[in-house]
Amino acid sequence: MSLFSRRSLPFLALAAVAFTAPAAAQTATATLSGNLGGLAKLSLSSTTLSFPDSNPDTVPQIPAAGGAIVITAKARATAGATVTLTVLATDDLRSGLDTIPITALTWTASGAGFVNGTMSRQVPQVVGTWAGSGVQTGTQMFRFQNSWAYATGTYSVSLVYTLVAP
């Protein structure tokens, strides 16, 4: 007769469980807390735009010298929030007392979430929108509407970009 019959197995299992249990253990608890608050960071490859003098007949739309501006928009937003990048001109294009409506400045965009638009000095214009946190990269190619009607001069204006990560 075998010493360990099939009926003995539950006792053997119990003994094995008891044998492998820790003899002693002490615990201490700590809490991890991470403030991953909202952040927004915007960078432009260039902070100046210039449009060379051109013949309105041959160059009715003057592209910006230096090509497109590369935009990098980094945002950490709350759950379900939409991150928005806008641009607003501080004024019309101005040269002394002469002005050119800022709407003469338009852009075409590339990159996920980036959109084409026309500059405004009254209402911020959307450059791009994205769902949630992340790093977005795109380009903005500006063009200036040329015209024989403009008074000669060197015109300038400031553009303000705003990235919002709610």
Binding site: F11, A24, Q26, T29, L36
Partner: protein, 157 residues
Amino acid sequence: MRTRLLERALMLAVGLAWFSAPAAAQPGLRLDISITPATITFPLSDPDTVPIISATPIQVTYRVRQNNGPWTLTVLASGDLIAGASTVDISNVTWVATPAPPFQNGVLSKTVAQRLASGTDNINPARQGQVTFRLANSWTYTAGLYTQTIVFTLTAP
């Protein structure tokens, strides 16, 4: 019938003997551990300039008395970092610990207790180690105040 009863009695006796064996080997084993501070905070930081966020170091005080074998200190997270419905995988939290040995660096897990320190015999009087937890920073995290509990366990098997 008598044979079966004898057989069960014998097995029960063996089981009880095994069950009581560890206690008999270390009859007065005493373990102590404390963590200071008990809250580990990662401050808000720009992922570009601070890709790894270090928390203020914590102090682990431990004591092992009347021990005749190895001891192990482990740490286990109760889950991922949580802020409402948003989560950050707990494996983004690592630690750097000193002195080494007995302490060692590691990565937090929510499923398997990770060894923080180990040694043999007694530690008496109490000794201290310093652990700095670090969070991999990222722009992709959803904004929020994340928390999670971690459990330190000192055992002498």
